[in-house]
Amino acid sequence: MTGLGETSTVAPGRAAGRPVGRRRNPVVRERTLVILGQLGIIGALVLAWEFAGRSGAINSRVFSYPSAIIERVFSMLAGEDLHGNTVFEHLLATGHALVVGFAIGAVLGVALGFVLGRSALLARVLEPYLLGIYSIPKIAIAPLFVLLFGIGLESKIAVVVMGVFFMVFFNTFAGVLSVNEEFINIARIMGANGAAVTRRIIVPAALPSILLGLKMGVPFGVIGAIIGEYIAATKGIGWLIIRSTSFFDASGLFAALAFLVVSTWILSQLVALIEARVLRWQPQRRQELVTY
């Protein structure tokens, strides 16, 4: 006789001990309150900003005000000429550097994280160098890339790689280091060779950390691309922000920022979606997707 009293675990998030069928779910109610509170705060701030900007209480040439910014967003969406390019062309220029740099940084980060994660000796040898390079602010090293690669795409890509690489590397390294050694022992006793252990045990075990690194790498890559454009570029969102600033175009500046924030958010959600799909074997994936 087997299976006495055995059941699979109940779906997470469902509170036990409440009669089923009642409408008022405390979890849902709390979430609604949180969202309402957050909307309330942003609504109040926007209203105050609008009022202060229009009445002249704050300098609208510096701070602009929401309705003017929204107007500019729509004008940009309609194809407004921004120093020779539309906002989409600027986004594309930034996106191009970001995607290429992200791919290079991610591949390098995962590869080095794996090698050092499996070789404690090499990790200890390289640690001071890696930490040293990591501690250099990207804004300080960007001019060097301009010298190396010239003004334009390549130097921007290099700054993105710097940002993405370390996030991915540190997380991959930590993930590979923390793989339960017993998982590996069991696989080897079962007859798995080195390749099978890597592919079927170490990679999946480190995957949550790798994906966390990629997710954190998105904003770092964006920062890298923007810094690259601050230093040396002829177009791109970062370049547009600098240009708008020097033209005292506060509405243009905020509108460009809005495009930047929304694009970054979409990219992060994309990575989070991939993560949720790949890591569906972990309990409580959905919650993390929401909190990010």
Partner: protein, 275 residues
């Protein structure tokens, strides 16, 4: 005497713990015969797990040698099955993928893999849970999964390290019963570590009692209870009370005398006694 499968010859094992060296095993010699079910009992920290890990090739001896079918164990021993205290099912594989994993790495074709995994999943009553992730299974179900993941590829020798340790008393008995059923069918050589004396007697042909650290072999007992055995009624079976009393006398002195008396031990024996 049956053919010797595992032979521990004058094994001494020392560990470094900070700056002091600890002797875990002190001149231990033990022979495990073919098709025998042997249990090792001993207080916590007596080195019984170390003995098992030596057999699997996961540790190196300080002195002496471990032989597996006459060959010195040197590196991972892929001839044995190894079942740990934690179920250690791979969380990124479904139950079915876990059970098929050893067959997969050993190159068994997909179709045969599937049907052998299904046979074992059915044997322990886990049908319907093939596509569940480990986190969706109860502790007892995970443990069953972990046992059949090893049994499915048919190692002739299985090393088990307190596999039922963390389970509640009822689930424990159900799983002990499952294990006996599998063993009676396949007759692997099993080396089983436990600190529950009732469990050791109920399952084994031989019970080895180890001393508190540094671990040495105190005594080896043959268990005269006839098979097939009923784990649920083990106390009523002829010979149980006598052999339990005899082993307990040896065991008790080690437990009471040990630096680190184990509360689980007392709980284990008395709660199983209530069943």
């Amino acid at each position: 005497m049956t053919e010797r499968v595992i032979e521990y010859e004058h094994i001494t094992k020392r560990f470094w713990s900070g700056r002091s060296e600890i002797t875990a095993l002190d001149d231990v010699s033990l022979r495990i015969g073919e098709n025998e079910f042997t249990s090792i009992v001993g207080p916590s920290g007596c080195g019984k797990t170390t003995l098992l890990r030596l057999g699997a090739g996961l540790e190196e001896v300080s002195e002496g040698r471990t032989l597996f079918r006459g060959q010195v164990v040197d590196g991972i021993n892929t001839k044995v099955g190894y079942i740990t205290q934690d179920s250690n099912l791979y969380p990124w594989m479904t139950l079915r993928q876990n059970v098929e994993f050893p067959l997969e790495v050993q190159g068994v074709p997909r179709g045969e893999r599937r049907s052998r995994a299904e046979e074992f999943i059915r044997m322990v009553g886990l049908e319907g849970f093939e596509n569940h992730w480990p986190y969706q299974l109860s502790g007892g179900m995970q443990k069953r999964g972990s046992i059949i993941r090893t049994m499915v590829y048919g190692p002739s020798v299985v090393l088990m390290d307190e596999p039922f340790g963390p389970l509640d008393a009822q689930t424990r008995m159900v799983l002990q019963n499952d294990l006996l059923r599998i063993w009676e069918e396949k007759r692997q050589t099993i080396l089983f570590i436990t600190h529950d004396l009732t469990e050791a007697i109920a399952l084994s042909d031989k019970v080895v009692v180890m001393s508190a650290r540094p671990g040495t072999i105190k005594a080896v007992y043959d268990i005269p209870i006839s098979r097939p055995r009923d784990v649920f009624q083990i106390h009523d079976q002829a010979g149980f009370t006598e052999v339990y009393g005899e082993i307990w006398k040896t065991f008790r002195s080690e437990v009471v005398g040990s630096v680190d008396p184990t509360p689980e031990l007392e709980a284990g024996t008395t709660s199983a006694g209530a069943g």
